[in-house]
Symmetry: C2
Subunit: 297 residues, 2 copies
């Protein structure tokens, strides 16, 4: 586990440096820039951007060309956290162990910082596509896909379904559908961006998409498992907080042991898909999949 | 005035039809789709999208190709209104004579509907650029410009400056700067999108940008003038509402008569810029400029 942790740490530093440069812009009003930077540079696993970079690396692509795409996905992820934490949504006071954006900057600025990060993400995507010499079809297709997976049909739609599911019992199928859009779409997008910017063939893109979909679901189930067995320090949020909000979870719906088994099955499938590809360096992608499932250890 | 009103009405119908088709998507959760459609299809002048179409028409461009860009700008405008109306921002209960989005759908859904419309706008831009056969440089440059003008350096930054200006006196220079970004950037973007999608030469693009900048400022000053002299029906918001919030206005800073004079000067300059161009059909652009200044009559 040591080596992959080292890798994740190194890549997180690279991503964070580039993210910092994107918001460090004197044309942005001071307070807005501070609010954007506060959440964007608050650490976190940087799972999504690292997936973009790791997939590019596995395909022999350029890290420099992949980096804007990695940052764009992280900006979208961060905006969604800022908005999800708002009093009218999940009403969370802490995130990653520090006060949430609206607790520090107020609700108005938190909403606007989220809006600004989302908007900036598309600017970074367009600039990244220009510099990566992607064809117009690939570049514009990728921006369109990003809008679909992050938008009403994807992540935003998932948050709506999640809010609607609170306080009532949802079926296992509904729960999976919520997560497929709320968290899965952005993880899948990350892997697909890393693939597209590296010129992946259609069969590689398909297999890696399958890898991402399994990883995204495994990650979410594992998150629920950790919410039951984890401790406050490791996740940076109160234990059992999902239960308090009467959110349905995988352990609640199918039991803790079966949830764990499912995670292992999904990770095995994800790894097989990567191993089935020729001409791909699989090690990082396999290690990331393993790492995500052993987070509690 | 009759003919331009007819023109604006016709184009508004075309824009509204296309906007409806963009949100009428069964993959969007019902309640979210309703909330998006509620604000997007609530009427309004459709000034920005009509500018996109009118500029394309003036340059001999294709309306069909310009339409997605027109709709993208209107989606961005609508999302900004939904978020600006929220209790933590301007706290408005009515917009265009009907209850604001959060009064009907609640704050959480209003925030998410805004997020979804902003995200969708970029998807529509990318798709529009694909179908309009724009070169990769033009297409990606246009998406990047859209992100800058709508984002932290543009419209979102303008809203931050506007909120920060409430309750204290701002100078005329600061007020202009607030409006340049808060409303001007999106109007300029509209004209530039209409120009770029129609293959405008650099000198035409420059002149039309100048037209847009003057129009945007004139529009804002006129809005302040109407807030003083207008009546509730015409604007759909309470008279003198800016004054109640202690917002600085042009009439307050430079007097009503000088404000009106300035509007006329800006409109004259805007019209001269259009008339200076060869090979451009100027009539609609001139009529729109005149129409905006005579709204009160």
């Amino acid at each position: 586990m040591r080596e992959i942790e080292q890798y994740l740490k190194e890549k997180a530093v690279i991503v964070e440096e580039r993210l910092r440069s994107y918001v460090n812009n004197p044309e942005i009003p001071d307070r807005l820039r501070e609010s954007m930077a506060y959440s964007l540079l608050a650490g976190g696993k940087r799972l999504r951007p690292i997936l973009v970079l790791a997939v590019a690396e596995a395909l022999g692509g350029s890290e420099e060309k992949a980096l804007p795409f990695a940052c764009a996905v992280e900006m979208i992820h961060t905006y969604s956290l800022i908005h999800d934490d708002l009093p009218s949504m999940d009403n969370d006071d802490f995130r990653r162990g520090i006060p949430t954006n609206h607790k520090v900057y107020g609700e108005a600025m938190a909403i606007l910082a989220g809006d600004a990060l989302l908007t900036k993400a598309f600017g970074v995507l367009a600039e990244g596509a220009l510099n990566a010499d992607l064809s117009r079809e690939t570049a514009l297709g990728l921006i369109r896909e990003c809008a679909v997976r992050a938008g009403a049909e994807g992540m935003v739609g998932g948050q709506v379904k999640d809010l609607q599911g609170e306080g009532r019992s949802v079926t296992l199928e509904e729960l999976q559908e919520i997560h497929r859009s709320k968290t899965g779409d952005l993880i899948t997008l990350s892997v697909r961006l890393g693939s597209l910017v590296s010129g992946a063939s259609e069969d590689k893109l398909q297999a890696l998409t399958g890898y991402a979909e399994r990883l995204g679901l495994a990650f979410q189930i594992q998150d629920d498992v950790l919410d039951v067995v984890g401790d406050r320090e490791k996740l940076g949020k109160p234990i059992g907080s999902d239960e308090q909000k009467e959110k349905s979870t995988y352990p609640a719906l199918m039991g803790l042991e079966d949830s764990k088994k499912w995670v292992r099955k999904l990770v095995d499938e994800a790894k097989s898909l990567v191993l089935s590809l020729e001409g791909v360096r699989p090690n990082r992608l396999l290690a990331i999949a393993d790492y995500l499932t052993y987070r509690e250890s």
